[in-house]
Subunit: 373 residues, 2 copies
C-alpha cells in the first residue's frame, strides 16, 4: 500500500475497523485501492437474463457495488457449469443487527436464482481469539447466530452451516496448511496490519477463512469436484482475506474464488461508519421491538432534513420524494420505521420457528444429493 495515498485518503477498511475521518466512505476510492471491479448495470442485466428473475433490490440499488471475477462465474454458468456459494459470520454478539442480515438476504436470493449449494462458516474460533470470549461462549453465540441465519430462509437441501470449532480438521485442515505455506508473515502484516504484540492466533487465522473457498475442504459435498468454482457474497471489509486467498489459489491448484461485495449498512447516525454491534444506538437489531425501532429512528437517525419546514420545502434533500421536498423528515422516518418493523417482525416470526433440531440438521456433516437441482 502506498503510504502517501493512505494518508490523504484517511479511510480505514479492514475486517476489524471501518472508519473515514473525512466523512462517508468513498467506495470508488476503495475499488481503486483494493483493485476490485465495479458491479455495473450490464452485469445486473446479465444476472436477470441468465436467471430469468428480476434482480435483487440490493443489485438494483447498488448495495452490492463491487466484484472480482463475477463475470467469469456467469460465463461458466452460461456454459452449463455450476458453482457454489460461500459466506459467513463472526459470531461476536447474541443478536444480529440489520447490517449483518444483508449478505444473508442476498445470498438466499443467489441460492434461489442460480440453484446452487451454499456453505456458511461461523468463525467462532476467530471471535474467541479477537474478542477474548471463551471457547464455550463463542460456540454458544455461533449456534444462536445460526438460528438467525436459518431464519433467512435457506434451503436445507442445499445449505451446510458449520462452526470452525466443530469442523476444522481433516481435508479442511490440510488446506489450511497448504495455504499457510504460501503466505509469509510479512505478507499478512501488509494485508491485515498485525503487530508483534498480537498473539499468534491472529496470525494463524487467515487460512481458516480462506479455505472454504476451495471445494476440497468439503469432501462430503464436493468430493471429486476440485474444479468447482466458488462465489463469495460478503461486505467489502472482508476483501483482504480473499485477496490473500486469490493470490494463493492457483499456486495450490484451485480456481480463484469470485466475489460480490456490498457497501456497509450505514449507522443510524449517518454514512460515516457502519452499523456496529459495539454501539447499540448505531444499529437496529433483529430482536428490537417495533417500539424500540421507532424510538431509535426518531431519536438517532440522520435524515438530511433541513433546519426548518420552509427551508426543507424550498431546498429539498437528496432522496426522491424527500429530495424533491415533497416529504418531511418525520414522514421519511415514519416510512422507514414501517419498512424496518415489518422486516424485523417477519424475521422474528421466522426465527421463533427455528428449533435446535433444525440447527443440528443444517450443521450436520452430510452429503447434499440434490444441491445442484
Amino acid at each position: 500500500m502506498d503510504k502517501k495515498e493512505e494518508n490523504t485518503e484517511e479511510q480505514v477498511v479492514n475486517p476489524w475497523e471501518v472508519s473515514s475521518s473525512g466523512g462517508k466512505i468513498d467506495y470508488d476510492k476503495l475499488i481503486d485501492k483494493f483493485g476490485c471491479q465495479r458491479f455495473d448495470q450490464s452485469l445486473v442485466d446479465r444476472v436477470q437474463r441468465l436467471t430469468g428473475r428480476p434482480p435483487h433490490v440490493f443489485l438494483r440499488r447498488g448495495v452490492f457495488f463491487a466484484h472480482r471475477d463475477f463475470n467469469e462465474i456467469l460465463d461458466a454458468y452460461e456454459r452449463g457449469e455450476k458453482f457454489y456459494l460461500y459466506t459467513g459470520r463472526g459470531p461476536s454478539s447474541e443478536a444480529l443487527h440489520l447490517g449483518h442480515l444483508i449478505p444473508f438476504m442476498f445470498t438466499k436470493y443467489l441460492q434461489d436464482a442460480f440453484k446452487v449449494p451454499l456453505v456458511i462458516q461461523l468463525t467462532d474460533d476467530e471471535k474467541c481469539m479477537w474478542k477474548n470470549l471463551s471457547v464455550e461462549e463463542s460456540q454458544r453465540l455461533a449456534r444462536e447466530n445460526a438460528k438467525d441465519i436459518i431464519a433467512c430462509g435457506f434451503d436445507i437441501t442445499k445449505t451446510f452451516i458449520f462452526s470452525d470449532f466443530d469442523y476444522v480438521g481433516g481435508a479442511f485442515y490440510k488446506n489450511m496448511v497448504r495455504v499457510a505455506k504460501c503466505v509469509t508473515y510479512n505478507k499478512v502484516v501488509g494485508i491485515f496490519g498485525f503487530t508483534g504484540e498480537d498473539h499468534i492466533g491472529k496470525v494463524s487465522f487467515p487460512p481458516v477463512q480462506a479455505v472454504p473457498s476451495f471445494p476440497s475442504s468439503f469432501p462430503h459435498l464436493f468430493s471429486g469436484k476440485d474444479n468447482l468454482r466458488c462465489l463469495i457474497p460478503c461486505a467489502i471489509d472482508q476483501d483482504p482475506y480473499f485477496r490473500m486467498t486469490r493470490d494463493v489459489a492457483p499456486r495450490i491448484g484451485y480456481h480463484k474464488p469470485a466475489l460480490i461485495e456490498s457497501s456497509f449498512f450505514p449507522a443510524l447516525q449517518g454514512e460515516n461508519g457502519k452499523m456496529s454491534a459495539s454501539d447499540p444506538n448505531s444499529a437496529i437489531y433483529v430482536t428490537d421491538s417495533g417500539k424500540v425501532i421507532k424510538n431509535k429512528i426518531n431519536k438517532y437517525a440522520f435524515s438530511g432534513g433541513r433546519e426548518s419546514v420552509e427551508l426543507h420545502r424550498k431546498l429539498g434533500a437528496n432522496v426522491e420524494e424527500y429530495g424533491a421536498g415533497r416529504m418531511l423528515t418525520g414522514e421519511v422516518k415514519q416510512r422507514l420505521t414501517q419498512v424496518l418493523t415489518e422486516l424485523v417482525e417477519r424475521h422474528q416470526t421466522a426465527r421463533s420457528a427455528v428449533t435446535d433440531e433444525m440447527v443440528d440438521a443444517f450443521m450436520s456433516v452430510r452429503p447434499l444429493p440434490n444441491m445442484f437441482n
Copy 2:
C-alpha cells in the same frame, strides 16, 4: 536471551538446528541457558525404588540428563496418582536412524515401568510445512515411521499414535486456539527465531505441538481427567516448544507438563553434532544391513584412538577398557558394530512383523479402558 552470552557460547540448539562451533555440545551450559534441572543420581535411585525395576541404561549412563518437574511427577505417583506420557516424531524421512529411536526406546521403558498410557504425535503437518513435502507424502512418511515406532514394542492397550493431519480438530483444535491466544508473535520470535520471511504456517505450528500436553486434547482417553499430569520424554532440542507450553499451561487451567530430556545421539564423526538424516554418513539407519553398519563404523566413526599402537598403549583414550589402553580402535569398532548390528537386526525383525492393520489399530481414535493397569 542475552546476546553476549550467546556469542561466547557459540552453540545453537533448537528444534531445527543443533551445532556447536566450539566443539562438542556443552550440556551444562544448555541446562543453565534453558533453565531446566539436572537429572541426578538421587532421581535415578528414586525411579528404581518407585518402580521396583533397575533403571534404564539411558538413565544410568546419563543419556537422559535433564528434566523439568520430574520430581513432581514422582511425588504424585508416590501418592497413588497416575500420569500419561507424550512423545512424538516429525516424519521427515523414510527410515529412522538410531538417534530417532532413543526417545522411543526410553518411552517404552517408562510405559512398562510406570504402567501408564502414552500418546505419540506424528507431526506430518510440521514436516509438510518445513520440508516443503506434499500433504500426501508427509502422511505416507508418518505411517512408515509409525511402523518403526510400533516395532519398539509399545503396548497397544496403553498407546495412541496419531498424525496431525488425521487428528487435528475438535477438542484438540480448541486447545490450539486457547494456547495461541496466550502467545504473542514477539514471543515465538524470541523462542524459535522466526523471521518476517517465514511463512505463517511456521508461526501457527507451536500450539500444535503444545496441546498434546493437556489431557483434554484426548477426550476419548482422558475425558473428565483434566487434572492428569503429563510427562514428556524427548531430546533437549524440543525444549523450546515445552518452555512455551509450560508458560501457557497455568493460564488456561492445566498442569505444566513435566519433561525428561536426552542429549543428542552423536554423529559417527564425533560429538560436535547429532546424527542427522540430512547427512547419511553421520548416521546408522534402522534399515542398514550388518555390512553397511560395519563399513560406516570402520570408515567414519571417530574413536579417539592415538596415532600409533605404541602411543595408544602408552596414553590410552578416555573410555574404560579403551581409556586404559587395553583395547585398540579396531577392537572398539568391532564391539560397536556387533552391538549396533544386533540392535538394528532385532528392530528389523520386529518391524517386518508390523502390519498395516496394526498401524490402523494403534492410530484409531478409541478408548483405552485398561490403560492405567
